[in-house]
Every structure is written in C-alpha cells, then in structure tokens.
C-alpha cells in the first residue's frame, strides 16, 4: 500500500501529536523517501512548532 501526499502530511502532522504505529511510520518513511514536497512539508510543520515556542519566549 502506498500513501498519497494528502495521507502522508496528515500522518506527519499526527506524528507531532501522538506516537505513530509501527506500520504508519514505515508507510510515511517510504513515501518521504521519494517525495520532496512531503519532506518539505514535514520540515515546515516542525519549524512551525519552533516558531510558536519562540513567539512566547520573546518579551
């Protein structure tokens, strides 16, 4: 089974909120290996977390 970009980004987002099941992690990893767009989306979602934390750290 192959994930679409829509499904992959949904799981990448959930991976920031819960621990993904082993099968989900494998499917995401396979998709990311060949999909530049989803790798960027993952990096950017992780960056959002850092940015929002930095938002409250500032005076």
């Amino acid at each position: 089974m192959m994930l679409s970009c829509r499904e992959t980004t949904r799981l990448v987002s959930q991976g920031l909120d819960r621990e993904l099941a082993f099968g989900e992690r494998v499917l995401v990893r396979v998709h990311l290996a060949y999909c530049l767009g989803c790798r960027r989306a993952r990096r950017q979602m992780r960056f959002l977390r850092r940015a929002v934390r930095a938002l409250s750290a500032r005076t």
Binding site: C5, S13, Q14, R40, Q44, F47, A51, V52, L55
Partner: protein
C-alpha cells in the same frame, strides 16, 4: 501580611508580556485581561511558592497557563460560540489533486531559523494565526504554545481525538500556506 512592594512591582512589570501571551491564546482582549488579572492575583497570594525559584517570568507564565485553560474551558461551554466553519482554512481540494498528490509542491524555505531572529517574521506569524478560525487556532495554540497534549486539548474543547488531530492538521497546513505567501515566498 501584604506582599512587599518590590515583589508587586516586579510582577506588574511583566503584565504586558503576560497579556500578549494570553491574547495570542484566547483571541479575546477581555478574556485575556481577566486571565492575566487572575494570574497576578494568584501570584501575589502565593508569593511563598516563588521563593527560591530562578525565574519570575517562567513561574508567572506557569500560573497564567492554568488560568488560560480555565478560560478556554469556559469558552467551550458557552453556547454562544459559533460552530466552526471552514472559513479561512485552505480548500484541501485545492492543495491536493484528486489522487491525493500535491497540486503544487511546497517550495523550500531557505533558512527558516534565520527568520526566528527577525521581529518582522513574528509579526507575519501572528497575522497568520489571527486568520485561523477561532477553535482551530485555540487547539493549535494549546498544543504548540501551551504545550498541552492532545487528550487534554480534546477534553477542554470537548471534541474527539480524531477531530482534534484534524484541527491540528488543518492549522499546520493553513499556517504553512500562509507563511509561504506572506513571508517565505517573498524572501
């Protein structure tokens, strides 16, 4: 015994910071004022709890977080709160083709951490947050700003975990898109 004046003035000096923090989260000036006021009163009453701790701001922020969660809980119970609409959220059908692949592949963001050094960037981020629908923004901010976990957020907002994840996913995808348009696409 009333708290010494210097403790009180130190706390007062942090009010603007706390107000900003609460406003980001609650999106309602009056509710934010109330939460900060409650937090400051609790801090003055509990000065002993601060004794020996390193950072007054961190301690106050911790108290304020609880007050914010109380406020969110009250808002969630308000029957007047309009049901969440899809306004302001990207049309997911436009982001992806019918087969689920990107309609337009996300562009690289260059040096995003460099943006964290820039005041202007945070202004753009706040504008993007303000554009999110209220409940979606609240779920996102509870997760990323207050650092609550999803079971807590679901409980406070009275939604199912699945709905919670959907809101967080939408928030992230919308913010990505918004920052692409208002910041990274312009660099």
């Amino acid at each position: 015994m009333p708290p010494p004046a210097d403790f009180r003035s130190q706390i007062e000096a942090l009010r603007p910071y706390l107000l900003r923090f609460a406003t980001l989260q609650l999106r309602d000036a009056a509710a934010a004022e109330d939460a900060v006021q409650e937090a400051l009163l609790a801090a003055l009453a509990g000065e002993a709890g601060f004794a020996g701790r390193a950072n007054l701001r961190t301690w106050l922020t911790g108290i304020l977080k609880h007050k914010i969660v109380d406020a969110v809980r009250r808002q969630a119970r308000e029957p007047a709160l309009p049901p969440e609409t899809e306004d302001g959220l990207p049309d997911f059908d436009a982001l992806f083709e019918t087969n689920g692949h990107w309609a337009e592949r996300p562009a690289p963001w260059g040096d995003p951490d460099g943006a964290l050094e820039q005041q202007q960037f945070f202004r753009a981020l706040e504008m993007c947050l303000e554009r999110l629908p209220a409940r979606t923004a609240q779920a996102f901010m509870m997760r990323e700003h207050l650092g609550l976990d999803t079971p807590e957020i679901c409980k406070e907002l009275e939604v199912t975990p699945t709905h919670c994840w959907v809101m967080l996913y939408r928030a992230r995808m919308t913010l990505r898109e918004c920052l692409q348009q208002t910041w990274f696409g312009k660099q």
